[in-house]
Symmetry: C2
Subunit: 528 residues, 2 copies
Amino acid sequence: MERQTPTRRQLLNAIGLIGGTSAVYAMMTTFGHAEETRFPGPPKLDGARKGASVIVLGAGLAGMLAAYELEKAGYKVTILEYQGRAGGRNWSLHGGDTYTELGGATQKVTFAKGNYLNPGPWRIPYHHRTLLHYCKAFGVELEPFIQFNHNGFVHNIDAFGGKPQRFKALAADFEGNVAELLSKSINQKTLDTQLTPEDLERLKEALRNWGMLDGDMRYTKNLRSSSHRGYDLAPGGGVPAAPRPSDLFPLDDVLKSGVWNQMALYMNDEMQTTMFQPKGGMDMIGKGFAKQVGHLVTYNAKVTKLMQDKSGVAVTYTDMKKGVTATANADFCVCTIPLTVLSQIQTNLPDKKQRAIRAVPYSNSVKIGLEMRRRFWEEDAHIYGGHSFTSQEISQISYPNSNFFGDGPAVLLGAYSSGPAAYRLAGMTPEERIEAALAQGSVFHPESYRKEFVSGASVAWSRVPWVMGCCARWNEDTRREHYQELVAVEDRTVLAGEHASYVGCWMEGSLLSSLDAITRLHQRALEA
Amino acid sequence: MERQTPTRRQLLNAIGLIGGTSAVYAMMTTFGHAEETRFPGPPKLDGARKGASVIVLGAGLAGMLAAYELEKAGYKVTILEYQGRAGGRNWSLHGGDTYTELGGATQKVTFAKGNYLNPGPWRIPYHHRTLLHYCKAFGVELEPFIQFNHNGFVHNIDAFGGKPQRFKALAADFEGNVAELLSKSINQKTLDTQLTPEDLERLKEALRNWGMLDGDMRYTKNLRSSSHRGYDLAPGGGVPAAPRPSDLFPLDDVLKSGVWNQMALYMNDEMQTTMFQPKGGMDMIGKGFAKQVGHLVTYNAKVTKLMQDKSGVAVTYTDMKKGVTATANADFCVCTIPLTVLSQIQTNLPDKKQRAIRAVPYSNSVKIGLEMRRRFWEEDAHIYGGHSFTSQEISQISYPNSNFFGDGPAVLLGAYSSGPAAYRLAGMTPEERIEAALAQGSVFHPESYRKEFVSGASVAWSRVPWVMGCCARWNEDTRREHYQELVAVEDRTVLAGEHASYVGCWMEGSLLSSLDAITRLHQRALEA
């Protein structure tokens, strides 16, 4: 270890020298405490009164997690679920499935074995620790979800004459131009900044290397810029092996492409690598949870009334298979019914709680799955997973992240729309949606898209009977006015779900909400 | 489809309007022809003379591919290989393996079953089409290699008092500051640029959204910047759910961290996502190739002399198991022996070819594998695959990309050094290298690194007996003076390997070189 010692000493010296100022130590303390997750581990719900009962409304992830932890804590738990399956928005459409949307259109999914569309959640960030914890606990196998693919396309009808370009080339040119422009400002000494001359030199060095600028601090056509944006002719082997640099894009088109939207998206906390998906479809998670608590669920139970007070809860529901109505009584209730539906159920919750329930609009979104005969995006376009983005209504297409290099059919996500575009797609018949997805998605893979198409399936969340929307869309005003009221325990009842969280529209939000809700409900039970 | 029609028409109109200028059409033509691969598919070697023989020197990937395609074309092929295994630098060390380096130090690898270190190649870019083609053809299963991980660390002893920071936070702050500074220049109207006022507005909009600037075009502490760099307290569920923004780093430290090195690395053509690795270790590729041509290989054959002229080739070699020397004759020779070794073998190649062989220095590099008792980087630090970088000699550590969330021991890449640092590590004993890797790598995971350590293995390429270096390091001068001479067919002999390519140090380079070499050799054979 003799040779290593000086290096370690140098390191320690370096730390000592810089760390000598109290400012730096203060800084290190501050920096050390970022909390990327609210999950402290499974809840500790000790001391439950023997025989105390809880009725859980909804067998989505929030409801099933509540049931799982409450049962473990000693409560007598039952779950009422509207659908014939558990999982809620954690859902996959496989070949053989049939789905009827509001309005009556029925789709029979004919995907090949192993192929699927995840209409709802489809990717898991590395910092969604609650979900990752329970996936492991419940034996749900995960595989990487390729979120970031430099080789995907970005298409904007206003840029490049409507021709899609590779993300890597657009991003490289954006960075190169930004670096060159800022470097010019530094040289003109017009930059209004507090930076020291040393830091300005460091910044120039950074811009030169990050932006692939040449010796004159210009972003130009050469092998250096091509090593980021792609070559006109890639390096090869043997005699004709030298690479040829590629032309830069006009900055005007780069800006019109809006590639900075994708660059920012990839830096978003919830979109950063590494992401995961369950092997076999997102519904493997719902199935994993259901393995734990499925025995507690009454399926096909449509809740019509929720009455509660300081002494207990009475839930009236219709067994839709048998056509009979019943009332279930319990000491406590965890209600995970989406607000869109809950707002239509008769309750005796106080007015301010009911106002909160009605205050939150739900987003719509539309996903379309397209089964293709072969993986032309891999074989011809060299795209493995990830996304291609467009300014058209489909918004993006996404490539499957399992069975890379596989033969046989595979399912592309052919649209992931929200806002007005999603409402327009939702207004179409399922067949029209597929046609729209094919027409618009063809821009990326014109030679194969229609030719290799086999079949499709779509889900417009505004037409999903059991949720009538995608997820809760809070804004600053509704948060201030209604959020704490919505999540507060009311006598014997507490609401949970992604709508009762700040991680809206994510499974993690529903789980964190559930854990917090049952912890508070348990506290209330101990006081009761 | 009625609702869709206007959108398609709008799209076509938009294309028509913009595409009306001939400049744009010219541009589209140019942009359409980028060639990211030199692989046109397997070679077509028709018309080989029946009975013509080829001797291939070296059973690395270049040699095995040459043998495979030449045998398919009808040649009688034999391979001489120095080692007792095929694959060459395509190599993995598994538990149970023993490796003796130059200098005599022997390591017995004790990794648990399924764990391995890839001393040589370890990742495959999506555009290495030759390699991907033959992996599929030879049944080598691939899985994603997580190259880009926003949550990995960047450590520079000169920044942050020696404390590592997450890549995401450093990159977000770099981008935010660059965006703010450039935006200021635009507002001061001092920017010397050809941009139109419209494009300047677009640029400002881009900077605001890409750099997460606030309404005043400043990069400040708020939930917006935290959504890229990470929160002080992440969004949660239930009552205590509101997120808390994180402090920004001082720009001085961000610049000193050198994070732009990593940002640029991730944009490098050969480092862009999606990357792959074989399931079970990189050596699965060598084994896949060997399944095809293993029957042609004479192992433990040390080539000592290569004589050739216009009529044929004579290769003298020592069978190191039997201790006997023999001479093999053939009509043609494909020599894939690394230049470090070939330069020491007696040949009658012309002086200028021998000068070319001696002209190219080889890089060194050192890799160290550390088996850890558990995946603390996943469980505690929430890092799944990818890298953490440091200014110390180990340069980086890399996290395993298979069996995510697994229990039991896993192997980290504990060092990937080159240049002077690699020579210093190579000068140590294997035990000292492990200690250096533990000492330096602890900076990332101080609480677990030594505690969870089980065993290690290292390969210093300058000490690998059969290559004595890592790979050929061409520069502009040596390329100009020697490259074409090196790759030219000489009478009956042609050289192949990564050293005979512009894709040096990559398996793809050796394969492309091999295909080009045998195509030219076959041409020569047809003329002979």
